[in-house]
């Protein structure tokens, strides 16, 4: 649809601008401000320039957290995207069973993040949890609060449990938009199941898949509540992701300067990667409109 040029449309956008400016730009400016200053307590601030940035870029703690975060995001993307596609392909196409699947699959998406943590906490504990108890009865030693590998496995299982449905639902929406004629044509050509997937379904899902990857990347990169409730970042620092580390620094130790510099770099990294995804997404959208 062609849009008309109308500069007065700005008036319709102004309320949003004011509100978002209040809740985003002002706080962001405070962060920028802190990141260049230091304080001896009270309200005595002095200029330190890029000192905090320099310090953080050489801080092992930050790089470790960043590494863990990247590892976490790539693991969950590489599990959730294929699994989500598989589930979307297996979902019933219509009728009451499709509705039931949709409702049940959406359930984890609507649970408060800390309750997700709680669910897995009570599910995984060796003394009271179904999973933990079953595993220990099978003779597998499992303790997510002591063993780093178990903690990681649990956090990843929790995230897969929580968000795979999102990928699946988006792919399902994409699949349903494929006209039946495409499948009929494929049937006439006696195309194999794989080539139907490869040449019909996958290209049609490209747009929604990009959105799914963008959202899953963004949200997994700023994950806080679920691992915080489940493991508290432990054992040791093994599940301390960037957000958990940042909150520790900002609200726990009240290190304003480093925390602010940390915040800005963190935000910029997300912004940069997301911008790449977004550009790809928009280009894909345009291609689709043209074809």
């Amino acid at each position: 649809m062609e849009k008309t040029v109308n500069q007065r449309a700005w008036f319709l956008v102004i309320p949003v601008l004011i509100l978002v400016a209040f809740s985003s730009i002002i706080p962001m400016m405070t962060v920028v401000n802190y990141s260049f200053q230091d304080t001896f307590g009270g309200n005595d601030f002095f200029w330190v320039g890029l000192e905090w940035y320099r310090e953080l870029l050489h801080s092992e703690r930050l790089w470790d957290a960043f590494g863990r975060q990247l590892l976490f995001s790539s693991i969950i993307l590489s599990i959730e995207v294929p699994l989500g596609i598989l589930v979307a392909l297996s979902m019933p196409k219509k009728g009451i069973s499709a509705s039931i699947c949709l409702v049940l699959m959406s359930l984890p998406l609507l649970i408060p993040y800390n309750v997700v943590g709680t669910i897995w906490q009570v599910f995984g504990r060796a003394d009271i949890g179904l999973l933990g108890r079953t595993l220990s009865d099978l003779g597998i030693s499992y303790n997510y609060s002591q063993n780093a590998f178990d903690a990681w496995a649990t956090v990843i299982a929790m995230d897969v449990w929580h968000w795979t449905s999102l990928v699946a639902l988006l792919c399902y929406a994409g699949l349903r938009s494929i006209p039946n004629a495409y499948y009929q044509a494929a049937m006439i050509d006696q195309a194999s199941r794989w080539s139907v997937f490869r040449f019909i379904e996958l290209p049609k899902m490209r747009g929604v898949l990009m959105i799914a990857i963008l959202l899953r990347f963004m949200d997994s990169f700023m994950i806080y509540t679920e691992p915080f409730v489940l493991t508290g970042g432990g054992p040791g620092n093994t599940t301390t992701f960037l957000s958990i580390d940042l909150v520790k620094m900002a609200l726990g130790q009240f290190d304003l300067g480093p925390a602010a510099a940390f915040s800005l770099m963190y935000f910029l990294v997300i912004l940069l990667i997301s911008y790449v995804f977004y550009t790809v997404m928009i280009t894909a959208e345009k291609d689709e409109v043209q074809s």
Binding site: V16, V20, S106, Q121, W161, L215, F221
Partner: protein
Amino acid sequence: MSAAKKNASANKPKVRLSIVVMTIYLLFLLVPIYWLVIMSFKSNSEILGMFTLFPTDFTLKNYQTILSDPSWYMGYVNSFIYVSLNTVISLSVALPAAYAFSRYRFFGDNHLFFWLLTNRMAPPAVFALPFFQLYSSVSLFDTHIAVALAHCLFNVPLAVWILEGFMRGVPREIDETAFIDGYGFTRFFTRIFVPMIAPGIGVTAFFCFMFSWVELLLSRTLTSVEAKPITAIMTRTVSASGLDWGVLAAAGVLTIIPGAIVIYFVRNHIAKGFALGRV
């Protein structure tokens, strides 16, 4: 014909495979929830002492504890207040903006649209400290409106994006006809346009409600007593006593219920909502 038959017979094992996949996946989703739900009906001695797949000593005592103790049930009330406030604020500012984005080109529209999205990308952890200071300095700390405004950070962009997605589906001839018929913008918008996209508004409201309801970090940072949400009360209980698993499970079940009730009505739009209106 024979090709179709061959295909039908080839289809059989595939259908079964998809049923197997779905069954396993749904079991994987439901078993942890099942465990939470049955735990909420068990007494603490049963939770800690025995290992039972079904409560032998079925009790509603955990729910009773929550519903009779103000420090628990006020958490739900507080959450409901700020979540509703947030939904109203987000929708009322997002409606005109989404209309502008869906109908007009104006200076900087694409950049503005992306900038809105960046707020959805911003980690709440980045905003926790500045929000705390900002709302303290205007003495709004520990009020419902503070949390409601803070959640606008991600809910307003979300609402604009979803609504824009719905509005693009409305043919613009309707606007033009209405304007030719002599409707002013305000009257057209409230009398004709808003009723037309009512389902979209409902879905958007649901998503604003949901994302504000599930958020913990900002709502916990911005409240201490008066407006403390249920999610924060739950984490406090874990760290303080950490033992009353039954009550904790019951509190968790009660937070799932609002979503579980409305989910049926939005099931066909849920993908669109989670995809920020882009499906």
